[in-house]
Amino acid sequence: MTKAARKILFLISALLLACVFWLGYSQMPPAGFVPSTYGDRVNQIVVPQRHITDAVTAVNFDIRGFDTLGEEFILFTSVMGVVLLMRWRKEPIRGDHEDKAEDRRVPPPSDAVRVASVLLVPATVLFGVYMVTHGQLTPGGGFQGGVILATAPLLLYLAGTFGQFHQVAPLRMVAFAEAAGAATYIFIGGACLALGGSFLQNLLPLGQIGSLTSGGIVPLIDLGVGLEVCGGIVLALLAFLEELVEEKEE
């Protein structure tokens, strides 16, 4: 298809889509006034019934916990896909991207970058752990905290070499952490079944409102998800960085 034909086809379908959007949005109440029966109900019950002060975490890991299990496994399978794709080696067919200056060396990271990265690592780890453990109290939780934790080894990579990145985050340990995190979620759900409740029913003592251990199973799930997300992101980073290093060595 020529470029012009493609653009014309796009314009026609974009106009049609815009009409569909118009049909849908013109029936909506104005933004800021959309009634939310479920949301209001959740806001009323999270503190008295669940002892959780962050309603978003309560929805994710308790009220809608089963859906989040699926979400976690989307992440799990995607990371698996990335690792599989990056390991799939085939004789590269060289195109126009051949190295024109082979004797040129990549300069080492500057002192400023190294010092800043090394200084940021402890702060990042602390902030990540804070995020994971305070999910049920303030905004945050396993997903956000896990990603923050995963940036710590990346900062070390910025400061040093890929070898050091590998030392901090060995492949086997990272893969194990990811799998263990994912298994924790299912295990907690299964334990609730074994105790006579339904899957992921919040059966643990709810604790005092506002304390780190409040929320029953939610802080435990948060820990598992944090481990899984951190492991998953680092695993994907490892897959991409390995590719980079191999290309440089060729």
């Binding site: 889509l17 949005y25 933004a31 800021g32 949301g39 309603a55 809608r64 859906d67």
Partner: protein, 114 residues
């Protein structure tokens, strides 16, 4: 004014789609998919927001105070996680395509030509 978020969401979707259709680089195409996805963030925010209400965090406000909708915010968290992972998967595909074909221009990829 109160329909502006809906307009922004539709605009982001269409402009991202335009980017996908006319893209000449697969990495650029992945970013365009991200732009399309961000239209759903704007839409979810617009649906969940209630004028004059605080965030649904009851650590420093009285429990039971009417707040904005936490359900769509939780949905948005799902949305972001899915976007990040899909983006990683797409970029991994782009790396492999570049390795096999030596180009990132979708117009020069004869194997996927329709």
């Amino acid at each position: 004014m109160n329909f502006l978020p809906y307009l922004v969401s539709a605009w982001l979707f269409l402009i991202g789609l335009y980017g996908v259709v006319t893209s000449r680089n697969l990495v650029h195409l992945c970013i365009c998919v991200g732009v399309i996805q961000s239209s759903s963030y704007v839409l979810l925010l617009a649906i969940g927001y209630r004028i004059g209400r605080p965030a649904p965090i009851f650590i420093d406000i009285k429990p039971g105070t009417p707040a904005v909708d936490p359900v769509v915010q939780a949905l948005m968290l799902t949305d972001i996680v899915v976007e990040v992972t899909v983006m990683a998967l797409l970029l991994a595909l782009a790396v492999q395509i570049h390795k096999r074909n030596g180009t990132l221009d979708p117009n020069q990829l004869h194997a996927i030509k329709g």
